[in-house]
């Protein structure tokens, strides 16, 4: 069975997340987006786990679904063409802050667990290490390697995956507080790390430049803090619906079940380029090198972004494609495309209206972005929208890259183009 899995999200128990991050909304938005398996996120949090226990019921092995009486009323708010089964997989993200080899390391890791009982075991173990109640993504003063040991002691079937492996401040390869290789972090236990998450600011092609990453499955998830952000990135799988099948798609290098990923345009990610947010300075890696890592405005150190970091660690030029590589599609969230087309804010009501109009006519967001014919989209939306999605699919867009915590900004059309395409419209 072909389906999408987005396994890294956060609940309303995490700091700076939407109140709407609760099981019902996840169930709803997964359908709108076209996600079949969604991670629960935050299963190390006692409050969230209790909520999950109350609202979910077991489905296939290691997977859960929203209890039918809850699902029934939620499904009424989902356009017919989008309605689909949704499954939950227990997942969590842990922030480890610790010193190793004389430097402070700050690393986020994803954990996937085979069932609720193991999630409770994880909680009991972590509660003795740090505070698991204040934040859905707990901060522990625990070496990531020790965390891996704890996770594997809890269950062989549990999986640990370094999260958004390249972000400067909180990742295994991050420029600020990561390592130069996954091995440096996990040492002799590295073989228990089947995959790394590429994160929004990098795509598989950037990772292919490091032969040291050839042994890891490159997975992608949204890291959503609100339901609309689901499927910013996701994994494309072709296997049965069960925890063991999903895990083996990640862990077995030759698995035919892992088809590839959906990716954010990495330039749109918050840490793609270098720069200094306080001074609104965005810098390409070569600018940073020329400026000796300093901000031209205030002379403080700039935050080195993912592109720079990849170039630093890469042993191959751009364009390498390892044999085990899986394909990926870069996409822009539909609401952002609508906002760009309409030249209005992404949170505006009009964007929302057009979005749901499209979904009710064409099906879930994945279908609109990737599968619907351009002509269909023109008719359901507008000529500009059809053109915009066509350009996205073929990569003919420009993006001002994100830097130092600022998202990149997308431009699908130059101003004169917009007039030309609208002008054609006026001829009819």
């Amino acid at each position: 069975m072909w389906y999408l899995a987005d396994l890294h999200i956060h609940s309303h128990y995490s700091v700076a997340t939407s109140k709407a991050m609760e099981p019902e909304n996840l169930h709803r938005w997964a359908q709108l987006k076209g996600i079949t398996v969604v991670g629960t996120g935050d299963c190390a949090h006692p409050g969230w786990l209790t909520e999950l226990q109350e609202k979910l019921q077991p489905a296939e092995p290691g997977l859960y679904k929203l209890q039918s009486h809850l699902a029934k009323s939620v499904d009424k708010t989902v356009p017919h063409g989008c309605r689909a089964e949704v499954r939950f997989l227990l997942s969590a993200e842990i922030s480890s802050i610790y010193k190793k080899n004389g430097r402070t390391r700050k690393i986020h890791n994803l954990i996937f667990l085979p069932d609720l009982e193991n999630a409770r075991k994880l909680q009991a173990a972590l509660a003795r290490i740090g505070n698991i109640r204040s934040d859905g993504r707990p901060i522990l003063g625990l070496d990531a390697k020790e965390l891996l040991k704890i996770v594997k002691e809890i269950s062989d079937a549990a999986v640990l995956v370094p999260a958004h492996a390249w972000t400067p401040h909180f990742s295994v390869l991050g420029a600020k507080s990561g390592f130069d290789s996954v091995e440096e972090c996990f040492e002799e236990l590295t073989s228990f790390i089947p995959a790394i998450e590429t994160g929004l600011s990098s795509d598989p092609a950037m990772n292919w430049r490091l032969s040291s990453l050839d042994g890891f499955r490159l997975i992608s998830n949204s890291d959503a803090h609100s339901p609309v952000k689901l499927m910013r990135e996701a994994n494309i799988l072709d296997t049965d619906l069960s925890y063991p099948s999903i895990v083996s798609a990640f862990t077995e290098p030759d698995s035919p079940s892992f088809l590839g990923t959906l990716e954010f345009f990495p330039e749109e990610g918050k840490y793609h380029y270098d720069g200094h947010r306080a001074c609104s300075v965005r810098m390409a890696p070569e600018d940073t090198r020329r400026n000796r890592g300093r901000c031209p405005e205030c002379n403080s150190k700039v935050t080195v972004g993912v592109m720079h970091r990849v170039e630093e660690l890469a042993d191959h030029p751009a364009g390498r494609r390892p044999v085990q590589a899986r394909p990926f599609n870069s996409l822009i969230p539909l609401m952002e495309i609508i906002a760009e087309v309409e030249r209005i804010g992404v949170n505006s009501k009009k964007v929302n209206t057009i979005y749901f109009e499209l979904l009710s006519r064409l099906g879930n967001e994945y279908k609109v972005l990737m599968e619907s014919g351009i002509e269909e989209i023109r008719q359901a939306g507008s000529d500009l929208l059809g053109e915009a999605i066509d350009r996205m699919r073929t990569g003919r867009i420009s993006i001002y890259p994100g830097y130092d915590g600022e998202f990149g900004t997308i431009r699908v059309f130059a101003d004169e183009e917009r007039e030309r395409i609208s002008g054609q419209l006026g001829l009819f």
């Binding site: 700091v15 700076a16 006692p46 922030s95 802050i97 610790y98 010193k99 430097r103 402070t104 700050k106 009982e117 409770r120 075991k121 909680q123 009991a124 173990a125 509660a127 003795r128 290490i129 740090g130 505070n131 109640r133 204040s134 934040d135 993504r137 707990p138 901060i139 522990l140 003063g141 625990l142 070496d143 020790e146 401040h169 909180f170 600020k176 507080s177 306080a278 403080s300 150190k301 935050t303 915590g405």
Partner: protein
């Protein structure tokens, strides 16, 4: 071996015969000097390993000394021959060796000692706040530390203690028991009365080395004096400025006394510090110089000048806690994306230096820790409060567990006693005594309960209260067979009334949350099957370490607890007048000096950063009091201080007020 030592250290190490007084300031390499000295004397064949005695104050210090000494010895395997230990362990073994002929001597455990004192207080009908058993034990210990017998007590307050002390000591001697303090004083008394024994013991040791000499009490001093009388080869090491336990009976004049008793003493001061930055040292030395102690070490270092001491003046103790959290975040360079996005004040330049274990937050009283714990928890920063028990050891949790134990085993009268009137249901001592009487007659406690509920001699309210207790136990027994553990706990918490009784007490609520969490891992089988494993886990954690030591955490502890430790970044909070220095019942210059020493010890824990804070208002048991900054702040020269203004808080612009006319 000697090359790595500085000049003063080397003098101390190479000193030959005769009394030696080493004043070793904080961070000046004291243990290194002691171990090198021992190793040097052994290497030069001036003494055999078994002829030097090294006395430390704690087992931990003894262990550390042995570990470090071992590597310096020409024959490391001979480390076992050197008597290294605490006063109590060394004296105890001499005492035992000399008592073999005269019969057994048993050491009274602390628990038994407390029981004995309670019994004596009961016999003498002494009760009330002045007669807390722990306090009484401490007073007796102090008297013994001063080598005072019950008859020697003379001041009024001591006189009151005399009959208790007398009966206590009589009981000990009658049963051939020793308490902890007797290990020293008994030997002193025997030496004084048996010259042969003394001279035999004296001949065993050619040199005695004593660490933390400033904390030695009268009995220990006398003990040393007697044992070293023939050769006077005493090497004592200490720092009166780090003497923070006067209430334990030590005194700072001890160095002077030593010099008077041993006029040819050689004094060496170790003042070169290898721990703290120059600015921190300068500030600490300035502060302690106000004590006018002739034995003060003028600490200095060749190290980094370092950053100024930071001082934050804040509105209240909540702001203080937030400030400390913000500082830790700043030093860490942010602990989350969100927090970094919110706060542009993080220090990218500091990033990469510190982990959680590099921070210590020190406070004068345990009460100050509450808000700090809250603020650190809210920020998700891992921390550990030293001296803290496992979080599920509260009266509420103990009560809940006693209910479960009793429901499982209704023969256990110990557990029945705990829950008998918890939550309070009007069942007093009298009811319990009746029950106990029945149990003593061989009736099971469950049967006794049944009888009590029908005892017409009891008032009706007793009967109904006991009836309620019995019904609660019966329903718990039913749940045990049917419900999973977590649900059993939830029902028990509610139906016993504990949940309601402790509703307002957050530590109780929290401990229940912990029990729930820890019960969760035992699965969904009926509690009957999982409860034993659960209780076993709890007892393991209760006695041992609940917190997993694989993890880094910010350390929180009192100023007293910090002695002997060091941290890259130290916060000393609550620098308010009356808190540090603490307003004692017995005010006066001596008390003030002790507080200043405490502050000095805390300051010298810091390697790179020292951050002080004081507030305008502080809450005491729910009530705000106005505070003044500590007088100690003024003792730090201003050029060493960097005043920090509180983090700017977003304020709503003041509303335009407009009069309204009708």
């Amino acid at each position: 071996m000697l090359e790595e030592l500085n000049g003063a250290q080397r003098l101390a190490v190479e000193h030959g015969q005769g009394p030696l007084l080493i004043i070793a300031g904080a961070g000046t390499g004291k243990t290194r000097v002691l171990t090198h000295r021992l190793a040097h004397l052994i290497e030069k064949k001036m003494v055999e390993p078994n002829q030097v005695m090294a006395v430390t104050f704690t087992r931990k210090a003894a262990l550390e000394m042995a570990t470090r000494l071992k590597d310096l010895l020409p024959q490391p395997s001979r480390i076992g021959e050197i008597p290294i230990g605490t006063f109590h362990s060394l004296s105890g073994s001499l005492l035992r060796e000399s008592t073999k002929a005269t019969g057994k001597l048993e050491l009274l455990s602390e628990a038994k000692q407390l029981d004995l004192i309670k019994e004596i207080l009961r016999k003498l009908s002494l009760s009330g706040p002045d007669w807390q058993p722990l306090d009484v034990g401490r007073k007796i210990s102090l008297a013994k530390g001063r080598l005072l017998s019950p008859d020697d007590l003379n001041s009024d307050s001591e006189n009151q203690l005399a009959p208790v002390y007398r009966l206590y000591q009589h009981t000990l001697e009658k049963d051939n028991f020793l308490d902890f303090d007797d290990l020293i004083s008994r030997l002193v008394f025997r030496w004084e009365g048996e010259p042969k024994l003394l001279s035999r013991h004296q001949s065993l040791f050619k040199l005695i080395l004593v660490d933390e000499f400033q904390d030695v009490n009268e009995a220990q001093y006398r003990w040393l004096q007697l044992l070293a009388a023939s050769h006077r080869n005493l090497c004592v090491v200490g720092d009166t400025d780090q003497s923070i336990y006067s209430f334990r009976g030590s005194h700072t004049a001890i160095f002077q006394r030593f010099q008077e008793d041993y006029p040819n003493t050689r004094m060496i001061m170790l003042e070169k510090n290898y721990r703290s930055s120059q600015r921190i040292l300068e500030a600490a030395v300035e502060v302690i110089s106000h004590n006018g102690n002739p034995f003060t070490c003028k600490l200095w270092s060749e190290g980094d000048p370092g950053s100024p001491v930071r001082l934050a003046r804040l509105g209240d103790d909540k702001q203080e806690a937030r400030f400390i959290v913000a500082e830790i975040e700043r030093f860490l360079g942010g602990s989350s994306h969100y927090q970094m996005y919110q706060n542009k004040d993080i220090m990218p330049s500091e990033e990469g230096q510190y982990g959680f274990r590099d921070f210590a937050i020190l406070y004068r009283t345990h009460a100050q820790s509450r808000l700090l714990v809250e603020a650190l928890s809210n920020a998700g920063i891992p921390f550990q409060v030293i001296g803290e028990k496992a979080p599920f050891t509260t009266q509420a949790a103990d009560g809940l567990l006693a209910y479960l134990y009793y429901a499982m085993d209704t023969h256990s009268s110990k557990n029945l006693q705990i829950i008998f009137n918890l939550p309070p249901r009007g069942l007093g001592e009298k009811a319990w005594q009746w029950l106990e009487g029945e149990i003593d007659r061989g009736v099971s406690s469950w049967e006794a309960l049944r009888l009590a509920s029908r005892n017409s001699a009891f008032p009706v309210r007793y009967q109904s209260a006991i009836d309620f207790l019995r019904r609660t136990i019966i329903s718990l027994q039913n749940y045990l067979a049917e419900l999973p553990l977590t649900e059993l706990l939830a029902r028990a918490w509610e139906e016993t009334g504990l949940g309601q009784y402790f509703a307002e007490i957050s530590s109780a609520q929290e401990s229940f949350g912990w029990l729930q969490l820890l019960a969760g891992i035992h699965g969904d089988n009926p509690a009957m099957e999982t409860l034993p494993a659960f209780l076993h886990d709890l007892s393991q954690w209760r006695s041992g370490d609940f917190f997993d030591h694989r993890a880094d955490a910010v350390t929180m502890m009192t100023l007293h607890g910090a002695k002997g430790l060091e941290f890259p970044v130290v916060f000393i909070c609550g620098l308010d007048q009356d808190l540090l220095p603490l307003a004692h019942k017995n005010q006066g210059e001596e008390a003030l000096q002790e507080e200043r020493r405490l502050f000095y010890v805390a300051m010298t824990r810091a390697r790179q950063r020292l951050i002080l804070s004081t507030v305008d208002r502080r809450s005491f048991y729910g009530e705000y009091r106005t505070c003044k900054p500590s007088s100690f702040i003024k003792e730090i020269p201003s050029h060493l201080l960097e005043e920090v203004s509180p983090p700017a808080r977003k304020r709503k612009p003041p509303k335009e007020t407009q009069r309204e006319f009708f």
